[in-house]
Amino acid sequence: MVSALDTRQDERRARARAAAAEVCDPEIPVLTIADLGVLRDVEVAGDEVTVTITPTYSGCPAMRMIEFEIVTKLAEAGFPDAQVRTVLSPAWTTDWMSEEAREKLRAYGIAPPQGRAGGRGALFGHDTVACPQCGGTDTERVSEFGSTACKALYRCRSCGEPFDYFKCI
């Protein structure tokens, strides 16, 4: 037997979760923090909402912006004073990114992470990355770090386009 109070609490939790899940990554606006796996949890206890997030990289400068956006979105959804908590463990991994999210990245012009994280040698390892523009696999890495820490810079030898690759970590 579900009481009316439980139902109301579930509804509030779902609404808070939906509001937080709308927040987009400021660097990759086609992905939400839920798509990325940055959003870990949304708890509602009485009037208090606590949103738990995890950074992609230790020094990710987007975290402050994301916190601000979460608080704003929740306030709009009727939850003033939401708390945002940052956890480091378990460490974020690109494995948490859904197939749908990977497809959104590709459509946006960023090559999604290849395969699963871990298991590759640290020294002189290489990924085969397909060009998000033409699909060609004759690509070369220009730099291990692209416009943000989570991306590397590549160039396609087939169509000549430079592109970002979302690194697999």
């Binding site: 480091l88 463990s89 770090f145």
Partner: protein, 254 residues
């Protein structure tokens, strides 16, 4: 100031934070000066990773101490003698070869270090390590590839990298030192045994130098002192710049 409840853990977290902060600050000094745009981005990104790691470690140290000092107080309001970073990370950027050799020496140590620390009995340190190990592996790959290009490049790049290896080699002994603080925490399953990382470091450095066509410098007497606050002349200058705003305008925020 009161002695922290767990002084060893506080000191250990702070020294590890100091290493990452000082090196992160050194990398930030390349902003606007890197040889190419791609390297500008890479150096800044690696600096951000390191400063991010330092922030997590300082925050943890502040909680362990329990005196209300936060990450900013620990980063900006301690003097040179209170910093306990290793000497390697405070050495000046000099030319690009020096910066990359310093990166290689540090990353080849930190990649296995963080990996070992993921098994720490301290849950916060283990959590920080779980993130940092992924970052350190990229830093290692980045610097190793540069050393190969520089060593195997022109006469000029080879000679500069050779000089950087010879100049910075003397600071690599300190990486593997274990003092009383580290040993006591090792006994509690908290700290990493740095001595045990020497074979992994040797093999990463040797493989890189072999590919680069560079010889490993001859063994010499090593310099150390950073862990007890005895630094080279360079740290004071670095801190003077890094801490200037908080010293001049205490409590100032952006």
């Amino acid at each position: 100031m009161a002695i922290p409840k767990d002084k060893a853990l506080f000191d250990y977290a702070v020294r590890l934070a100091d290493d990452q902060l000082v090196l992160g600050h050194r990398l930030s000094e390349w902003c606007g000066r890197a040889p190419t745009l791609e390297e500008e981005l890479a150096l800044a990104n690696m600096g951000l990773d390191l400063i991010g790691q330092a922030r997590s470690l300082y925050a943890h140290a502040g909680e362990v101490e329990g005196e209300g000092r936060d990450e900013d107080a620990l980063a900006y309001l301690r003097s040179e003698r209170e910093f306990t970073n290793m000497l390697l990370v405070e050495q000046p950027n000099d030319d690009f070869a020096h910066t990359m050799v310093r990166q290689l020496f540090h990353a080849a140590f930190m990649a296995p270090y963080w990996e070992a620390m993921t098994g720490s009995a301290d849950a916060t340190l283990s959590g920080i390590a779980g993130k940092a190990v992924k970052e350190a592996r990229y830093h290692l790959r980045h610097s190793a590839e540069w050393i190969v290009r520089l060593g195997d490049g022109t006469q000029e790049s080879h000679a500069r990298t050779r000089a950087a290896l010879d100049h910075l080699w003397v600071f690599t002994g300190e990486l593997f030192e274990m003092d009383e603080t580290a040993l006591s925490l090792l006994g509690r399953g908290v700290a990493v045994d740095a001595r045990a990382l020497k074979p992994a470091w040797d093999s990463a450095v040797d493989e890189t130098l072999a590919r680069a066509g560079l010889d490993r410098p001859a063994e010499i007497a090593m310099l150390s002192g950073g862990r007890t606050g005895r630094h080279s002349e360079h740290l004071g200058h670095l801190l003077a710049e890094m801490q200037y705003m908080q010293r001049a305008y205490p409590g100032m925020t952006w």
